[in-house]
Every structure is written in structure tokens, then in C-alpha cells.
Symmetry: C2
Subunit: 699 residues, 2 copies
Amino acid sequence: MPMKTALALLFALAAPALADEGMWTFDNVPEDQLFERHGFVPDAAWLEHARLASLRFNDGGSGSFVSPEGLVLTNHHVAMGQLQKMSKAGRDYVKDGFYARTRAEETACPDLEINQLVSYEDVSARIHEAVPSGLPPAEANERRKAATAAVEKECSDMTGSRCDVVELYAGGEYWLYRYKKYTDVRLVMAPEMQAAFFGGDPDNFVFPRYAFDFAFFRVYEGGKPVPSAKFFAFDPAGPAEGELVFVTGHPGSTSRLLTTAQLAFERDTAGPAILKTLERARKNYQEWTARGAEEARQAKGGLFGVENSLKVRTGELLGLSDAKLFAKKEADEADLRARTMKDPALAKEAGGAWDEAAAAAKKLAARYGVYRTYAGGRRAHSMTGHAETLVRWVAEVEKENGKRYKEFRDSALESLGFRVFSAAPVYPEMERFLLARKLEEYRDDLGAEDPFVKALLGGKSPEDAAAAALAGTKMGDPAFRKSLVAGGRKAVEASTDPLVAFARRIDPFYRAQRDWYEDEVESVATTAGERIAKARFAVYGKSAYPDATFTLRLAIGRALGYEQGTTQVPFKTTLGGLYARSDAFDGRYPFDLPPMLAAARGKADLKAPVDFVSTNDITGGNSGSPTISRGLRLVGLIFDGNVESMVNEYLYGEERGRALSVHAGGIVEALESVYGMGGLVKELEAAAPKTGDPHAAHH
Amino acid sequence: MPMKTALALLFALAAPALADEGMWTFDNVPEDQLFERHGFVPDAAWLEHARLASLRFNDGGSGSFVSPEGLVLTNHHVAMGQLQKMSKAGRDYVKDGFYARTRAEETACPDLEINQLVSYEDVSARIHEAVPSGLPPAEANERRKAATAAVEKECSDMTGSRCDVVELYAGGEYWLYRYKKYTDVRLVMAPEMQAAFFGGDPDNFVFPRYAFDFAFFRVYEGGKPVPSAKFFAFDPAGPAEGELVFVTGHPGSTSRLLTTAQLAFERDTAGPAILKTLERARKNYQEWTARGAEEARQAKGGLFGVENSLKVRTGELLGLSDAKLFAKKEADEADLRARTMKDPALAKEAGGAWDEAAAAAKKLAARYGVYRTYAGGRRAHSMTGHAETLVRWVAEVEKENGKRYKEFRDSALESLGFRVFSAAPVYPEMERFLLARKLEEYRDDLGAEDPFVKALLGGKSPEDAAAAALAGTKMGDPAFRKSLVAGGRKAVEASTDPLVAFARRIDPFYRAQRDWYEDEVESVATTAGERIAKARFAVYGKSAYPDATFTLRLAIGRALGYEQGTTQVPFKTTLGGLYARSDAFDGRYPFDLPPMLAAARGKADLKAPVDFVSTNDITGGNSGSPTISRGLRLVGLIFDGNVESMVNEYLYGEERGRALSVHAGGIVEALESVYGMGGLVKELEAAAPKTGDPHAAHH
């Protein structure tokens, strides 16, 4: 514990209540802000511990080690993709949960990769050197890709680790992040879905909330649990209200450095289009769900994801449509532009960047419908998605490493293969249904005469075209996918598999749009962003944090309730509250109690905490992040933000935006009194520091 | 049960979901709306039963008979004025509750009058005849007062009952309501204030809500419980969600027939001024409260009332500032005006009314500050309030009955005396503090040179002036007040009591403003309102209900949850939810559990309902109203509306506006498991119809 603490506490009481803003990189923790607001500044050992105990779930989420034996905690909704893939008809781990009571029962996940950030270094000089300012955007982009790929390759060749060059401050800095990869990850425990997602879609992004949204995995190496010396020991007491808490996790992306023109594009063009796509997807999944129990099981994961995104996007768009917020952005931008113009050298380099970014946004807006349709994703884990990826893969790897699409660079191929060769089950009937809908939507949006639409339909109806594309495909077999990659471009071109043929028809359209976007929009925006970021550095120094990049960040906050409407929202909820909310709806879906949670009634402690809120600055990708005390104890598990926090995408600072955590004590109570996982509780307890440990008494 | 029911049910399923709007008089129940929406039309016997079982609390609230032995149910917050007056230092019935477990322990209230509407008849012809159209407003007003007073006097002389002429449809109709008066009312049971008002100010006007806001009285006559043949038997099962429920109570006032110019006056002038007064009053009470436990006890009732009004007024003003709502009002008004102008006779009579109403509103706005200060209330139950009333009383009764201020007419004097001669305790120290603040506010608002301010301060500071006005006054003694009335104008003029002298100084200022208001504003508005109401009758017929007038109304609705933000609000809450909300705040005020409710934990049924919401159209004054089933069983007890329903003052029809009831089953559970009032539960059970009764199975 740093020596500053006691002294600073007195000071903190008098300090003004500044916002707990920021997703800070570990190389740039805001010591002054921490000292002044909280009287606590983490030292190097604290930061190293927190970094090594924090994990990234490569399919989109965060987690952490919670015992020295490789035990990992994350959200049920982060684990759900794996649960879904591991389930079969008649054995539904999503619905019923999963309970390994011995190590032998811990079951390998089909394609889960977990990363641990073992080192990071500033490589800005190397990248900036390779890309002198003043180059035409397309060439600068090429050079940047090449330099980035070289740094990554050198690192991975030397260390065998996963190496990512991370762009920060919109190109103001580049860092090389080296990750230890874990791919033998086994499922240990997941509660019933209805306990993890109690209140369903209505209560999603809402507080008070009653969700046991957690799951446990264990990382193995060489057939044994990996020793994890740095971990967060559970503290079932959780935080006191008002207590300082940190979140160490992997926020996916934010758009806080976007210019107002770019934000206007998000608000007026991209946002509404994405909402429309999501609303259609929800409708499609709902229709499939309505067909029967097995169909509902198949659709569950996809529907969950879509409903979740829908609330996020709606919240973002609401925030972006907030005139006050937008005016603040405009004022901030005007200030930065004015200061930039006052310095002749800076003005020369960056003065034009805002107008260039605006022009690029305008260009993209003009053909956004076509761009998004041709080059948009068609569900990563579907057979269609695999086919598209494989067609692109065999062509890309023939190119020089630096000239490939980012996801096909040598340094990324292992992780990509891990996903593409996954043995997760496929659902051909559901996929045919959804693909037909997708084709129908393309036709409705762009017209039957659009060349892409014509190429995909080939004169058929959407239903027939989807059926033809999927009829007899072997794409469901991972061995077939591997054989295509092994056979290279020749094998893919020669394949008579109908889905491969379908993907071959998509490919030129996809490439044309993506190349146009990268050359005409992305490169301009990147160059402009770099220059604006440079101006920002020159004007304000490195007192800011960079936009989120799905890399490790530290968020600072306090466990704290808030006001809503004319009443108060408590900072935590209890198990008694969960049962009461179910009773208030007479146990009606989605407020029904799952069997084991229902059976625990009368046995479990009604005062046990379930969830709590804190002011930490988080966003999507933080799901599964540990919420920790200054003593490095795990007091909670981030699983959501309230709807008032969705504006975090563009700006933090709302009085009522809150991060939502499952309470550490709630997890322990659920394990013990609901799910009979006493063994797991013993492991967590054994991992806790004994009395006398300097971290034990943290509040 | 009317025969229409079964047939209509089929029809109702197909009927469009019209709003459950309306506070209907018992002579004009909307049979078509009931038939179409609910497949149930109450017959004459049903209406008579409901009317005679429903009661009015004369100090502002509603109630009902719930047993054949005069047992009356109302809200704790309606009872609170009495509880406060019956408490003494060391015996705090507000905080600790009151529990009569035998008839002998039932304790008489100091000044509670309860009214039962025994008959009503249309006297429009008599009033309209006495006030021919075309008279100058002041003269019309004089004549109307005289005619009204004559009708009331004739009725009360003949029957000995309380007789009120009620103006409906802004003068479109006049009805004579005859009430049986009950003045020997004894307190039977009140729960702890913290159980009645759990969640305090934050949760006031909020749902989900957990308030046991009920109290029981018993009406006596001749020393014995009055036989109450018509009563509502408790149904602890409460309503099913979606079930038809009625509220029979006394909504105080609404402004639904106001013109848009009058509403703009409320929004821009009166509303903000009233809010400012209330905010000051809250601050003053809070300061007094902070001085100590005894001071807090003294201020509790007043503070409660002020905070309550503050939320109501805030909600109203929000609704009135809703541009969409205001535009709807404007469109409605434009339609009525256009239709009025199409009929030459109607146009001649009423065409100018809107502009006249607007002119009167403008006149009032121009001197609103002075009017409100001189003629506004100075707390009815304070000694200062009594003094002002007495000075006015002795002068008014010397006038012809028809020329007096309304509250001093013969028919009203008995009730007025009942209040003014109350033996309720006074708090001279608190009153001195509050009066000083009031005087300070007058000076700040109008300036030290204002003649009223000068007359009240007499060259002193506000503190000194208040101290002088109260020093040695005998106004705290009811006998002294009686002696002044008995002595008449001479006694009042000769009195050397400093508070009487103070009130004498106020009186001319008060009269000047009130007379100006009645002649220049009220009379014009009344005349305009009468003509607009006439136009309304002519154009739309009597398909509408009149504004609320603190007279008996029937409101129709369904027990129904709603959506809020992005989540669902259940239609009811449970006892488990109450304990959970307390736990979520770690039992912190105002979410602390009072001793008896805390002690019942583990014993009481957590699934027992506490409160529920329904769509009935209610407003202030409805507090304590029974919520009844079609089978005339009491399923709930109105105690509040949510904040979304505050706009009811001006317009009903919000999707999320709801009436809040204490659940009948919650009352029974509290009596039995929390407050040991098994005897009372037995009386309620004995009153319930036995199996086979046609009203027994109502859902």
C-alpha cells in the first residue's frame, strides 16, 4: 500500500467531486486524479499484479484469475457462446447450467482462447518513422500496415506469443502488446441461464437488477491447471457504499475522439442503419424461436446477442441525439481547433484534418447502404461466414504479409484458424431460414437489379437461393474447412461445394467495397485522426486516455447509488429482492425462477447481495471484468451498464451512468446455497489472504 | 349482477382499448363505456350501496365503511392530522402507531368530521333562474351566491343535514348534495408512520412502492358504534391483474375545463409562485426539524404536507409544460370554439367567453404577487390562522347570509366552528419561527415599503414582529376562541390579545384583495366558464364528466402494470420487496424498518401483497378512497398516484399514469402478523359475505 494513502485521505475529503472518467492504459495511470479524489495511487507492483490477473476472452469479453490454480471468472453471457456450442439436443448447458464438482468433470471448450497481457512497449517511433507525414493517405496506410505487421511478426517469431500492435490516441501512439495465449480452457461451472439473465430483455441495462451473470472456467496447460500466481482473491463482503473500486478489463471500442462531423454521421446514417439491421435480425430469430423448443434452443445465443446490441445501440443513439451533449462536443472541438490554429506549425500539419474527416464521412454516407450490404458481416460463426472467410483466406495469404487484410496477417492466422476450424455444431435449417431472410432484405434494400443481389440470387427467390447455397454443403465439417485452407486457392477455386461457390460470388463485391473504404474513408479518417491526436497531444499533453481498443484498461470509480426520476436507486440489490420481483410478476416470464434458484428459497440468505453499481467508466468488452478493491481483492464482476451509461460510447460524465457488477458475496452465496458448489467456494476461500496480509482489510 | 354481463363479455374482447378516463358523478355513470370496455354496468342498487359505503373526510380525504359496525378505513396520511393532534410529548401516535384492542380503547378524535352522501338532486333550474344570462358579472355572482345560500339553508333547516350546492361543469349544472355528518369519530388503529410512509419523500409518487398507508376509525352516535348497513367487505385476495376495479371517492379539484389562456396562467404565473412558496416552507420546516427530537415531532405533519404538495405541483407543472399535451388542449379548444361559432345563438351567448377568460387571467397575472401575499392562507390550523378566521367571522355573520364569503354562510358555520374550536395542541415556539419567516418573505418579495408589509412589521424586524404578535396570546385556548365568537364584533374589536390585534391589521388588506379577485377575476371566469360549459353541452352533450369538486365520484379502471424507461413495472409489490428495498439501502433512512415491522420479519408472509396500481382516474382528495371490485368488495385503498399521473390535474390519458392502492390482503397481513390486531381482522372477516352470496366470487 503506497504511503500517500493516509495523508491524502484528509485532502480528498475537501477535493471537488470530479468525474471518475477514463479508461486508462496501464502505462498512464492518472496518479494526480487518483491521489486527489481517492487518496490512493497504485504502485508498480499493484499494477503488475492487476495486469497479470486480468484476462481477455478472445471472442469478446474480459475475465480474471481468481485462484492460483488457473480458475477463471467471467460472465455467463461471455461464456454463453461456448455453453451453446457444448450443448446438444437433450443436454442444454445454457438452460440448465453446468456443474463440474471434480477436476475430471471440467470439460474442454471447443474454441475458447484466453489472452493474458505479459508485456507492453511503446513502438510509436518505429511506426511513425515508417510513415513520414505528408504521404498520400493510401500510401501512408499501406506503409503503416507493413510496419505494424513487421513489428508483430518479429515479436511473435521471437517469443512465440500473440503480438498485437495497438493504435492509441487515433494514431498518436502505437504500442506492442504481447499476450500469453491459453487455448485449453475448460468449463467449470455456469448457473442456470434464467438466474444469470433474470428479468430478461426488460431488465437488461436496468438497475435495480438481479442477475447472477457469472461463470467459471479453468485454464490448463499440458493437461494440468496452469499455475496462476497473480490472481484476485474473492472478498465476499464486497464494497461499502462510496468505496473506491477499480475495473481492469478490455473495453471494446469507444468513439470519444471522433470529430463532430463523424459523430453526426453515426447519429444520422450509421446508427439508424445498424438499428434497422438489428431489428430485422431480432424479428427473424423470434420467428425461428416460435417454431418449437429445439429451434428456440438453436436461436437462443443469436437472439440474446441481437437484443443486447439493440439496447446498446438504442442507448447510444439516444445519447448522441442529446442536444446538450452534442453542443458540449462542438464546444470542445472548437476549443481544440482554435488552439491548433494559434500555433503555425501545428496549424500547418493538423489545421485541415477536421475538414478532411468531415469529407470522408460525407463520402461514406453517400454510399453507406451498398458498402454495408456488400462488405458487412454475415454472422461469423455460421457456415456462410466460414465459407466467406476461407475464400478470402486462401487469396490473402498469397500476398505479402504487410499487404493483406489485417485479420489474415501471419500474426493473426493462428487465432483465426482456431475459430474457423471450431467443431461447434451448426444448424443448417436455421441457417437456411436466416440466409433467405438476409437475401430478401438485400433485395428489398437495393432492388432486384443491383449486381450484388443478382449475383447472390442468380434468378432464384431468396428462399431457393439460400436452399441452393446450403444444399449438401460440407461446410459444417471442420475437416472440410481445414482441407480447403491446406489446398489453398486452387482447392477453393476447384471446389464444387455450393456454399464455397456462393462465397466465391460474394468475394469480388466484398473486396471492391472494403478496398474503397480502406483507401478512401478509413485511411483519410486515420490520417486525420493521427493529426488531430497530435494536435491534442501538443495542446493538452497526455492528460487524456485513448479510445477503447479491446486492450487492457484501468477504470476508477466508487460503488454508489443514484437518483432516478424522483426517487433513489440503491447501490446494491439482494436475493430477497430477486424473489420479490419474481413474486410481483406472479413468476411470469422473464421473471420466472429457474428450478434450482426456486428450490433454494427458504434456504438461501435473503439479505445476500446480488448486484451492485459503481461509477467506473466501462463499455462493451468490459463484460466479465473484475471489479477490485484497492487491496486487489475481487469485490464484483462487471456484467452490464445501465441505459444511462450507454452514452459512454461518446462521452462519460453523466450523473446517473453506472457500471453493473455481480457482487462477490452473491456469487459465493449462489455457489453455496443454490448450486451445491461447496468445493469451488473452498477453492476461493483458500485463495483469500490470511489475516495479517496487508491487502486483507481494505475498508 | 346485471344481466348484460355475460353477453357483453364477448363484445368487450373485440372493443378498442379506450382510455379509462373520467371522474363520473353518480347521476351520470358512463354505461356505454363500461359496457363496451368491461362488459359490466352497475345498476341502481349497486350505485346506492357504493355511495352510502363511501365517506368523505372533511379535512381533505376519502374513506369508507368496512364493517356493519361503523368501522371506517382511510389512509394513514389522511388520519395523520388527527394522530398529530392526539399525540403529546412522550406519546407519539404518529411515530409509534395506535392500537385499540377493545372498543373501550378506541379514542375520540379532536376535530374530525366525516360526511356520507345520503341524497343528491339537480337544482340547476333554480340557480339558473335566479341568475338570468346577460347580467354584469359582479351582479350575477351576487345573485348566484344568494340563490345557492337559499337552497342550502332551506335544505339544512328542513333536514338538519349538511347541505352543499355543488357547481358542476363550470356552472353548467348545480346539484344539491345532502350529507349525513358524523363528528364522534374514534381512532381504532394506525400503523407506525414509517410503515405507512416507507421510502419517505424519495418513494412518494413512485411505484414500485411499499407503503402500509392505512388507518382505521370507528364512527359513533349516541355513544355507540353507528350501524352501517352499507359497507365494503374486505377481499384479501385483491384484484387479478387486468381486473376491472372502481374507485369511489372525493377527488378535490381538477382543471380540465380551463381554457388554454387559463392554463398558460397556471403554467407561467401561479404554478411557479406556488412552487416557490412550498420550497420555502419545506426549508423552514427542515430547519425547525433539525433543532431536536421534539421540534421534529412538532414539524412532522406540516413538513409531510409540504413535501407532498411539492411533488404534486412539480408533477403538474411538468405535465403542463409538455408541449404535446398543450397542443392537444389547444386543438380541443379550437374545435369547440369553431363549433360554437357555427351556431348563431350559441355564438352570441358564448362566443366571447374565451377572450373574457383570457382577459381575467391576464388581470390576475398582473397583480398576482400582491394578491397571493395579502389574501393567501397563513396555515389553517395555526393560531395565526384561527385569529384571522375569527376576525373575519364576527364581521361576516353580521351580513345577509347570501352576501357573506362562502365559508361563513350559515350552512357552513357548524363545520367551520368544529375546526376553529378544536382542542388540538398548538406549538407557539414553532409558530413564532414560521411566522417570522413568513414576514421576512413578504418583505423580501414586496419590499419594506409595501403597505401590507409595513402594517405587519410595524417598524420591527420580522423576528420581533412575530414575537410581539404571539407574546402572551390566548389563541391556543379553544375557550378563548369561542368567547370571541360569542362576543361578536365588539369583543374582537375590544380584544387586547396581540394576535387578535395582528389579525385585525391583516383584515382590510385581505378583504380588498379577495373582493377585487371575486369581482374582477372569479366572477368573470365563472361567467365565462358557465357559457363555455353551456357551449360544451350544446356541442358534445353530457358525454363528459365535470371537473372534480371534492364530491363523490366513480372512477373506472383496471389493475395493470406498465412500462417505464426500458423495463416493466409490475402491477403489485410484496412484503418481501419491502424488506429487500430496506436491505438494499442497508436500512438507512427513509428506508429503515420501524420496530414492529422489523420484528415481524421471519414471521410475516413475504409473498403477501403490499401495494398495487390501477388505471383509475384520480387526484388529490381521493386519498383513502376504497378500490372496489364489481362485486362491491374492497380490494384496495387508494393512497397515491405515480408521478406520471400528476398531469391528471389537466388531462387524463397518459399510458403510464397510475393510481396507487394499498392491497386489501396487505392490510390484513399487517394487522395480523405485524400489529397483533387479530380482533380487527375477525371483524373484517365476519363482515365478508358467506359462500353463495352473489358478490362473493367476483373474479
